[in-house]
């Protein structure tokens, strides 16, 4: 069936801040307003609302409707972390396709107070509380250090291989005026940075920030009538708790549904102009490159040695810098890649624009419930590109 007739429009990003005294409600409101302004719409035009956030407690999307004065007939709260963006997109698209809503605002935002990170870690999930946080309380840095250690031993990847990903993303970030990291990063600096939880060092880690991202989903005919640049949705997949019997995570759920992703889109990996992976840590980036069909399992290291991952390179990847260089605004980290991709395929990315980008693959991953990321998602979107 595909997602014919439905498009994503009006990508909006609220510039990130390292720390903010504002609330998640405030950041979400900023992003919602921005996306509506870009689409020339008013809040009353929104009849579908999808929210992803870690710092809204005690509110959910429900509280936000009254807080922001919305009266939607379709409401969703997506707790999937880095997989939320694509999940929001595919749910909103079905709602519009089936007539349950006309205009769905998909918004993600989080604040970052001085103790937000610590509080989130200590109450992240029941399994994290019971079975990982008590062990050194190193948070996801320690959990992903274990995955990275395993991956390196199993497949012979080196720190330099991961460094290539980080260095390229930093180069991309320098073209993004809103990226929180502003100085260049060399491989030497990457290698010599202080250890966080070996083999994870400083530049393998995202910087938690406050921020928000948003886009709208509506019928293509309505978008074109309003003169909006549109990103079509060619295919999406979603999978949770894949491969539970793997002793440790070295592959994600994308592997289970990869064929459907490409066959629904009617293309192959070769047809992808840019790849936006969920980059909480470079090892997961490498895993996505493998599991999304760009190289074989275990050959991620050869792949990144051989390809140029910058905006102008032969394999543009995380072209606005990704979370590693632009910052991770909580659940908005699950939207940053998608929102940038919408800009890219509609030729609207400005200083980070990849030449002739028309087709993008956006991948989501998230929620280290215990020892592995439970949620995965991916989408292929396409647009008319630069005029």
């Amino acid at each position: 069936m595909g997602y014919a007739g439905v498009v994503a429009v009006a990508p909006a990003s609220v510039p990130y801040q390292r720390f903010s005294i504002e609330t998640a409600h405030w950041w979400i409101a900023r992003a919602l307003r921005e996306t509506l302004q870009r689409a020339g719409l008013a809040p009353g035009d929104v009849d579908g609302f999808s929210v992803s956030s870690f710092t809204l407690f005690p509110d959910t999307a429900v509280g936000l409707t009254q807080h922001l004065g919305l009266t939607p007939r379709w409401l969703d709260h997506i707790p999937m972390g880095g997989a939320s963006g694509v999940a929001a997109l595919r749910r909103a698209a079905r709602a519009v396709q089936c007539g349950d809503a006309n205009v769905v605002a998909c918004v993600s935002g989080d604040t970052n107070h001085v103790d937000s990170f610590r509080r989130m870690l200590s109450s992240f999930s029941r399994f994290a509380q019971d079975a990982s946080y008590p062990y050194g309380s190193g948070g996801p840095n320690a959990s992903f250090a274990l995955l990275t250690d395993y991956y390196m031993r199993a497949f012979g990847a080196t720190r330099e291989d991961f460094g290539r990903i980080c260095v390229a993303q930093r180069a991309n970030a320098l073209c993004n005026p809103h990226a929180v990291m502003k100085s260049p990063l060399t491989l030497d600096q990457y290698m010599n940075a202080r250890v966080i939880s070996d083999p994870i060092h400083l530049f393998d880690c995202v910087m938690p920030v406050a921020g928000a991202e948003a886009f709208l989903v509506m019928r293509e005919e309505d978008a074109r009538a309003a003169g909006l640049k549109c990103a079509k949705i060619l295919s999406t997949i979603e999978r949770h708790n894949a491969f539970p019997d793997d002793p440790i995570q070295m592959r994600g759920g994308w592997e289970m549904d990869l064929d459907e992703l490409y066959s629904m889109a009617g293309c192959t990996a070769d047809d992808i102009d840019l790849l936006q992976t969920y980059d909480d840590y470079p090892v997961i980036v490498m895993m996505q490159m493998e599991d999304l069909g760009f190289c074989k399992k275990g050959e991620g290291k050869e792949f990144v040695r051989a390809r140029n991952l910058t905006i102008g390179g032969d394999f543009p990847h995380n072209v606005s810098g990704g979370q590693l260089s632009a910052g991770q605004a909580g659940a908005a980290g699950g939207f940053i890649g998608l929102v940038e991709a919408i800009r890219q395929v509609t030729g609207d990315a400005g200083p980070t624009q990849v030449a002739n980008a028309r087709q993008a693959l956006v991948s989501g991953f998230g929620m280290i419930n215990y020892d592995r990321g439970v949620c995965t998602s991916a989408a292929i979107i396409a647009g008319d590109g630069q005029p």
Binding site: S123, D130, S137, G139, S143, L146, V195, S197, P247, I248
Partner: protein, 419 residues
Amino acid sequence: MTTPIVPPPKKNPQKRTRVPTRPSHFRSRAALGLAAAAAEGRFMLQTCAECGTVQYPPRDACTKCLSTDLPWKDIAATGKIIAGTTVHTSTNVYFRERMPWRIGTIRLDAGVSVMCHVHGDVQTGDNAKLINRLDKSGQAVLLAVPAGGAPNMEDDPQMRELTCDPKFRRVLIADARAPNALALAKAFAAAQASIIFMGEPEGWRPYPARKEIAKVKGVEILPLDVTDTASVLELVGEIGGKTDILVNNARYVRPGGIIGRTDVNLAKDEMEVNYFGLMRLAQGFGPGMRARGADGQNSATAWVNILSAHAWSNMPDYGAFSASNAAALSLSQCLRAELSAGGVRVMNVFTGPTEDEWHQPLPPPKVAPEAIARAVIAGLKDGLEDVFVGDVAKDLIERWRAGPKILEREMIESLGQSS
């Protein structure tokens, strides 16, 4: 190779004592099953009663068949370390103070992957075994140790946080007159305690073992009578800040229940020593011990009570004594809660009838003082909470767990057989 610990230097009297901090203590109800197992040093996991699948992390329904019947079973703890890391930054103050800290993922032969603490002598790729112990928050954590042991294994800094080892620590044994006092003193000396304070009540009347006790290396005899508040407070004033381990071996035992006696005098004496004695000691020594839970290598680490197993189920021939121990058991649970903020363990060593004059006519098996002393030291070295020493105590707790009311009937049957 673990570097063996050395006797600590004298405490710097001008520095603030480090305030105890704790790892995260939040656990779901299912996860507390691990703590119950760790209290006895057992490694247990939920095993689905219907399909046999072993579960980890602890949960409410089987991951294979959704059954909610998930009894805890003793599980082989062996496996292979498949990933490891040394954490250098933590959001938790306890771990921040103890960086760097090694953790890893072990794939157990039982078919689950467990995130665990990793002993210094275990490397990624090694075969190892998990031990289930209580950390400073009083909750269960799993530590991967060398499967075949290693020299000075107990001195690994991460392992020491899970144990209450007497080595180079100062212990107070509350009652030098008790039949088990000499055995305890010798056992602590053999375990390399640096000072063994022996509390001596009623120094105005002699007791045979005093000469021998005074000869044990490290022993210092000081007046202490757990029935005398002023006596307790005076000793607290003197050595409260140096008591790393307190062994409450004070006990008043006489045969008799209710109707066979014609007054409450003996019962009052039993309560005065067994219950109020514990209360006085805890009121006196508790605050200092709780505050010193993180005070260097010879931090305050454990409170030990030696209780009758019949605290769990009354033995009518010693009915009043049993009741006083039941009171002490309940009180020790309160003490455990109150000391938990300091990371100080409360360990109860439960024994059946002991080998002494007040159990003289009872048939064997009876527990010798040496057996109690061994159990105390072994329990401290493993950081346990519940130790059952001797056949009677082990048998009793097994019956209690299988059905307390049935055990009560069996205890009623025993009336008259021990007098």
